[in-house]
Symmetry: C2
Subunit: 177 residues, 2 copies
DNA sequence: ATGATCAATGCAATTTATTGCATAATAAAA
DNA sequence: TTTTATTATGCAATAAATTGCATTGATCAT
């Protein structure tokens, strides 16, 4: 279970609300960690109960109140100790591949449609990731050095999406042939 | 939820026991679907209750009894209908990337060790996938045509692992620098 | 004016997945 | 000879994730 640690990692950079975290999960972090809002809010509650984060309520005009969470010393301790242990290899469960694997029970149009729908999504993602990369590459060497590790995770997204697209194009050709 | 459908897809090819399925999930299908034995056995029970699969018990000498499951007409129906709908894009939750993202709280040796451990696993997987591909490429054109769709999923595994390795090597260099 | 989207959070119920424990026989390896 | 791996299955408890429903006030578009 590392939703907990994904949240702690984000809060270690800066205090945020559940909604802020949600946006981070949906945008920048989305290519390596996904979570729904309910999951985040529940987890924040648990983390606060365990004393790993602190909560303060901010009132806002015209908008609902905001609960801002901040990592505690104990939270940093938990995170550091988690980092010192090895993580499990990523579990892959890809329904699209299940569908292709059993695709002889349906028609090629259906499979091609599905592939092309996903293709669009992946193309969009890749464009976004490359835009983030362009920003990073314009930073000074010092700033680049500072954000080296997040950049490495961004590269994973880019190389991963490129490979996905290569595969999809190759597959579409193969199915059409 | 497509563990259900992953199982139906496998049973549509040939009747199998839970243990047989487990081996398929751990070997060939492992690069796109993972499940533990408890999950498979429970799901088989539910599928049988729903009449999507049938069960017959085979006695064996020297080994425990084997329950062989076979897909029913109703099961093929369910599978076909699932195939006609679109599937959700794959959800990625990769703890290794979370660790790297927050890696400034630990030391580079730790990160490099972790990356190299994963590297070994991915290398092994890639070798296995390539071996399967070699076998496929020796088939006659007719047989290749027949297994085209599973081959496409295999290609996903190969391209995915290659991209993973490229990324890891690049990342290791970047961290060492 | 009416519906849609964004900001912000939450409860409750259900579904899925994981962990821990348990059995039992055979064969192969240390 | 003792331990480990393989074959084969399962229950029970817990943990994690998903789905459905709900609120409120602002702004933005039709």
């Amino acid at each position: 279970m590392s939703l907990k640690h994904a949240i702690l990692v984000l809060l270690e950079t800066e205090p945020s609300s559940g909604y802020d975290l949600l946006k981070q999960f949906n945008n920048s972090l989305g290519y390596f960690w996904n979570a729904k809002h309910q999951q985040i809010y529940q987890q924040l509650k648990l983390l606060a109960l365990d004393g790993l984060i602190d909560c303060t309520t901010e009132e806002q005009q015209g908008k609902p109140d905001k609960k801002v969470y901040k990592i505690t010393k104990s939270g940093v301790g938990e995170l550091t100790s988690w980092l010192s242990n090895s993580v499990k290899p990523n579990k892959i469960n890809d329904a699209l591949l299940v569908k292709l694997y059993g695709g002889h029970l349906t028609n090629n149009e259906n499979l091609l449609k599905e592939l092309e729908d996903h293709l669009l999504l992946h193309k969009t993602t890749l464009i976004q990731l490359r835009q983030i990369e362009q920003k990073y590459l314009k930073f000074s060497p010092e700033v680049q050095e500072k954000y080296k590790l997040p950049y490495i995770t961004l590269r994973r997204g880019i190389l991963g999406e490129e490979a996905w697209l290569d595969w999809a194009l190759e597959s579409i050709k193969m199915i059409k042939k």
